[in-house]
Amino acid sequence: MKNLMLLGDEAVAKAGMDAGISGIYAYPGTPSTEIMEYVQTSGQASDGGIFCQWSANEKTAMEAALGMSFTGKRAMVCMKHVGLNVAADPFMNSAVTGINGGLILVVADDPSMHSSQNEQDSRYYGKFAMIPVIEPSNQQEAYDMVFHGFELSEKYRLPVMLRLTTRLSHSRSSVKPENALSQKELSLPEDPRQFVLLPAIARKRYKYLLSVQDALEKESEDSPYNTITEGTDKSVGFIACGLAYNYLMEVMVREGLDHPVLKVTQYPLPGILIGKITGDCDSVIVLEEGYPFLEEMLRGFPVTDKRIRGRLDGTLPRDGELNPDHVAKAIGITVKEGPAVPAVIKNRPPSFCAGCGHIDMFNALLEAIDDFGPGRVFSDIGCYTLGALEPFNAINSCVDMGASVTMAKGAADAGLHPSVCVIGDSTFTHSGMTGLLDAVNDKSSITVLIGDNSTTGMTGGQKSSATGRIESICAGIGVLPERIRVIEPLRKNHSRNVEIIKEELEYKGVSVVIARRECIQVATKSRKQEKKHK
């Protein structure tokens, strides 16, 4: 087998296909998007008939993957960390139903919030659901541990979480692939009531989940992915989880250090291994990408073991992703920085692409709303969140997928008029539609401005769930047809667009303005492809 140069995300995708998945479900979200994209563009998926379409949101993706597992086939579901909040309901209950065909949930966390609203650590969800979590430290492990994860999943009849973080998701290295396994045959669960979580059955299923916890910990103790490397200098030892192991190795090799190291890439935590290293060493530095998950447990409450060092005692920064320099400083090694960044350098935040329709949409909105005063525009997750930056300063909230509609509703219910929300087409179908139904039912006076660029733009132009059907969805939800307006956000239409938005802002009731123009990135890409085919 020829080695492949793969991103961490791609290694997981390739491994999924090689491990015989019959389908993969996902909603795009940085840094997880490339997993599905790799499957979609691989010949392997089309040859093998592997299902690989985007879902409307992470919850529908998780449920569909569980349904595929129900049939005895292997399935994968992928999302970014905050996506798991959306999918939390089926996720938590999938640990109770258990699985039939192997099921791996891939969650990509984004410490340092490169492209996210928070840096929550998905390992807590894994512990919460009491399922195994695997956290590869490099691209090869990302590939290998998918096979390992499916074996664990099928051995214990439970879903397994595979946790990635941004730097592994988006870093490329050489990966040696295995021979591909064939897909499983269709075979329904032996117990036809396994997935029926009526209280009486759920209690039994939950007892099963509890009963395998010791065995899962034993798996972690014996796992080839959790290992202690002995070292002569026991003044300090290290526990390094996932990607943090690489930063530690970088520093130890460079400095020629010789300390005991426990590498943890499989959970539940291996108690015996942890007991061994904490017992052997005078103090232990815990290196984790994300929250101080393990460190907090080891310190105890109230803090009983002050020999445990890490993010909680200031040895490492409390927030943000780790890097080799943080680790070096934690060990007491002076970091030799290059020249300082000259004062003349200015920040360069992201901005709208030249020619983006959102620019014209915000220009029209800003003029239309001018008479009413600022501070009343709720917004959402997507490219249009950049409307918060100079020179627009056009939006006043960005909380979670779909929250613009419901926050505008709540504000309207409190008497704010006009109360406006700006949401993209893909975010609207992800989680905005249900909020719109609430507003219609309660006759809340909101103006919903849907920036319809007919794609999932921020993540690179994935298929949007309801392209061409936004008006009919709004009408179906109960918005009056005369209150569904469509504008084309172009400079030449500016005054007409301002007028239309003004009319809808003044209206008392639910109104929708759809600002529709294709994403400039997608348009350029498709023009290029057309040219090629000519």
């Binding site: 690489n246 080799p324 030799k336 290059g338 360069r348 709208f352």
Partner: protein, 195 residues
Amino acid sequence: MQKDVIIAGVGGQGILSIAASIGLAAVAENLRLKQSEVHGMSQRGGAVQSNLRISDREISSDLIPLGSADLIISVEPMESLRYLPWLSENGWLITNTTPVKNITNYPDLEEIMAEIRSLNNHIIIEADRIAREIGSPRSSNMVMLGAAAPFLDIGFENLEEAVRELFRKKGNDIIEFNLKALKAGKDIASEEISK
């Protein structure tokens, strides 16, 4: 052998084509490689970089430690200075001269160039002008790659082969233009070094 390279630019400038070429050439020489990229929000016109590490030994960290980059290759002048804390004592900074002014407070270009010139090891390349002169204005990134070639410890023929591979689907004309751009960049850098 180990080379730590930071490739810098603005989202949309296509710095990953430079990284991918070096990557292909490194693989052809049986070197190990780790290449960290920026995807997501910053790709929308923000500051972007790629950490590229090639070595004949195992590479642990996907990120380059502070003060240890051998090379900063930047396709935009202000961006070339953003990563100076990562540059090693003997490291080189190679930058294009064409600014991308997508922010309202873009500094005075002369001040930026003065900062670049104050560094011991720098090469300033008018990559866009050179690309235009050879008749392929879109090949400026390959001019930049060529300028970096003398510092990479990778056979030039392997870089050429990588460029062929990278543009294989785009036809022979595009390949030839990019090879020309690569050579032009290399020649200028070699001249600068021997000064």
